[in-house]
Amino acid sequence: MVAIQYLTIISVVVAFAAMIIKALRYATAPQSMRWELYPVPHEKGKAEYGGSYLEELNWWTKPRHKDLFNELKEMAAEVILLKGVFNHNKRAWCSSWPFHFGLYLCIGWLVLLLVGAIAESTDVRVTAYGGTVWQVLYYLTAGFGYAGLVLSGVGALGLLIWRSSDAAMRKFSSPIDYFNLVFFVVVAVVTLAAHLTADPGHAAMRSYVHAMITLVPVREVGTLLMLEIVLISLLIMWIPLTRMSHFVAKYFLYHSVRWEDEPNKRGSKLEKVLLGQLGRKIGWGAPHIDSEKTWGEAVTEDIKHE
């Protein structure tokens, strides 16, 4: 293998490790208090107006009806269409949606390149004339790649213009925000240029992926393609190290906080976990708190009359 391949491997390993660490950090945080926010989409028959099971008389005696289909629908609308941004910030959506949807297509492009590379490990050739299935794969890969790069590049540029031209946005934007967006624009431009000029059918890129999965040295690649691979590798590594990896956190933000309305029933597993939390040392130092006590002791002691 050659240096560029080691860089790609390192970037993928770092990216996955960073995402796993991030997810674990949230997943292993202590069970917190309830802090849901309505509307909660799994509230069957009530989600539309923001209602909850707490609207039911003697709600604890009734079976809970969760509408998981509606929750999935809401998630799909959020992930694919960025529904929240569309509803509340149309100006941001005009750039944010193409940017995000473009990235989804780019991920699809990478997956299709991988599928093509695996196929080419056999006798198959993924070409514009390679028979129905492989022909479709060929055009799909190219389609996802070009559409994804154009959309994400245009979206990133739009976000860059918005951040730098809007007075309020400018106040809250830092060098890293501009750097990240410029990074995306550069990657999109370089990658598009590389494929339009040197690898229009993405065959060279597929060969690179093939070399990666078979761990053999990649054959010579052109300068632009080399630059593309370096930039993509660096980007893949960089994203999870920044807050751009909010896709990991968003799951927890929605499922562990915003939509988390599971009632604590007597004798439940949740109750056992919560009882365990009361044994933690409270630690706070204000005069009305004895920092040496546990939570359970501190919150059940009587405050003395003065």
Binding site: Y38, G50, W284, I303
Partner: protein, 537 residues
């Protein structure tokens, strides 16, 4: 410094006052208040100014003592940093660590939250009241002073902020320019919650530095945990008060108005906000008349703390919150009731039902229900007789944030109103998308210094406009009596102050009160005229 020029890093600027609200810049109110001119917000007395910080905006609702020496300032800054670390600790802050981390780490700073914030909008878009402004101060402090390598990368990552006395004293005040209504969180595409971050800042100041508004702490939770109620009403005084309330209720309605206490084994323990006992006894009477007429097995408690559902800890301090709510749970357990019904008080609902869900444990895990639901069952299932024609006047409803946005209790109260009020209409927006009354998170009880003026002019401005817009121009004529149903004690307090400030009874004849008052007003077995238009306002 002009409003538009203020940036987050200016929070550490060594100036006397960072921002002064120009009341001429506030958005105009609708008819008939288009020409209403707001006076400047008054100054704070020189004695207070010498003692407490007003270096944010010259408004005072949290008393931040001014350190006497530079050494003292440094000590306090160091203490703040210790608190900041505890805020991120699994032991000291297990209660909210996960949502805190998520909201701290993942804001993309798109500013979508700004347009949802009633205070930011109603202030004429004052930069310091922007939801992101406050949360970004906390975020930058964590990123620069707590995260490894934070100082090195601060310029690049945008954590360029200095930690000094100005920063933390202003941050303490800024945490009390947000009503924790969480409307901003609803619009956040990521799901980040500026309301939560405001509360976490308040917690740090209270739980580590002992800094909190006196109305919430000394005269709030401390008083409640030492006398039994934040109003200061002791169990003995309560008995006297209720005797008079019963007599008066029977006289006004011509119906039994028995208020049972400490009935062991009753089906329902009803807990009121004790503010009702003093300020709105008709609310207590109405509950008694309705519950008795419906034949419910119910009781109030005279147990220490058990008769006052108030829990101001919800707004600023987890330990005080837990102490109070566990007293409520213990009261219910001792009485052996089947369920606890929360009276018309939004924050009490959230304290006992939503957050309390994770702390009423074991034998104290007695089911809790909203009175909106109990009342819906009574009214819609014909357990009392009503004549909606008695409520033939324009009625609108205010949605308490804690009951609606934080708990999803939207329709029960509406189904009651639709049945008993022929002229019921909604505000815009309403339900989960409502605007806060402006008195949320304890603001309604903060009556000192110049804060009440700010509360009426700024935090309550959106609600004032919503109320006016709920009625037609013809209806706004003072000859037409109108009613704002505000089924929450704190919201009522805020609306009362708003109405007084804007002289709304004289100018528009709009009245406010709760849901139960409307129900009793149309009960066919009750004397007519429970709602006394001249007396209620």
């Amino acid at each position: 410094m002009s409003n538009q020029d203020i940036k987050v890093k200016d929070i550490s600027r060594k100036t006397d006052q960072l921002f002064t609200l120009d009341t001429k810049e506030l958005p105009k109110l609708p008819y008939p208040y288009e020409d209403w001119e707001e006076p400047p917000i008054g100054d704070i007395s020189e004695t207070k100014q010498a003692k407490y910080e007003t270096n944010l905006d010259g408004i005072m609702n949290v008393q931040v003592p001014i350190p006497k020496t530079d050494a003292e300032k440094e000590q306090l800054v160091a203490k703040f940093l210790v608190g900041l670390r505890k805020l991120l600790s699994k032991d000291s802050n297990w209660t909210f660590l996960q949502p805190l981390m998520l909201s701290l780490d993942n804001c993309v700073k798109c500013n979508t939250c700004s347009d949802a914030c009633p205070i930011f909008e109603a202030s004429g878009r004052a930069e310091i009241y922007r939801p992101l402004f406050r949360s970004d101060i906390l975020r930058r402090l964590v990123n620069k002073y707590i995260r490894p390598g934070g100082k090195l990368t601060a310029k690049f990552t945008g954590a360029d902020i200095d930690l000094n006395w100005e920063t933390i004293s202003r941050l303490a005040q800024l945490a009390y320019r947000c009503t924790l209504c969480r409307r901003c969180a609803q619009t956040c595409p990521m799901g980040c919650d500026n309301g939560l971050l405001s509360r976490e800042i308040r917690k740090l100041f209270s739980q580590e530095m002992g800094i909190a508004p006196s109305e919430l702490h000394e005269d709030g939770t401390i008083k409640q945990l030492t006398t039994g109620s934040s109003t200061g009403i002791t169990p003995l005084a309560l008995a006297d008060l209720m005797e008079f309330t019963e007599e008066d209720g029977e006289e006004r309605t011509g119906m039994p108005c028995k208020i049972p206490f400490d009935k062991s084994g009753a089906d329902i323990l009803l807990i009121h906000n004790a503010g009702e006992f003093l300020s709105w006894p008709e609310n207590i009477q109405a509950f008694a008349v309705i519950f008795e007429a419906a034949g419910l097995s119910w009781t109030l408690s005279s147990d220490f703390v058990g008769y006052d559902s108030v829990n101001y800890g919800l707004f600023y301090d987890d330990t005080q919150y837990a102490r109070v709510t566990l007293k409520h749970a213990e009261t219910a357990r001792k009485l052996g009731v089947k369920k606890v019904v929360l009276g018309e008080c939004g924050h009490a609902h959230k304290a006992a039902m939503a957050i309390g869900d994770r702390i009423w444990l074991g034998e104290a895990n007695i089911p809790r229900e909203s009175c909106m639901v109990t009342l819906e069952d009574i009214v819609l299932n014909g357990k009392i007789k009503v004549d909606p024609e008695r409520n033939y006047f324009p009625v609108t409803v205010h949605d308490p944030c804690n009951i609606t946005r934080s708990m999803g209790i939207i329709e029960p109260q509406r189904r009651v109103l639709r049945k008993i009020c022929p002229q019921f209409r909604e505000m815009t927006p309403h339900g989960v998308h409502n605007y806060c009354c402006g008195g949320g998170s304890g603001f309604a009880i903060m009556q000192s210094n110049n804060f009440p003026s700010w509360r009426s002019m700024v935090s309550g401005r959106k609600k004032m406009a919503q109320i006016l817009n709920a009625f037609t121009r013809e209806e706004l004529d003072p000859k037409v009596n109108k009613y704002v149903c505000a089924p929450c004690s704190n919201c009522k307090g805020q609306i009362r102050d708003l109405f007084n400030y804007y002289d709304i009874w004289e100018r528009c004849h709009i009245q406010y009160s709760g849901l139960v008052e409307l129900i009793v007003n149309c009960m066919t077995d009750a004397k007519e005229g429970f709602i006394d238009w001249e007396e209620f306002h």
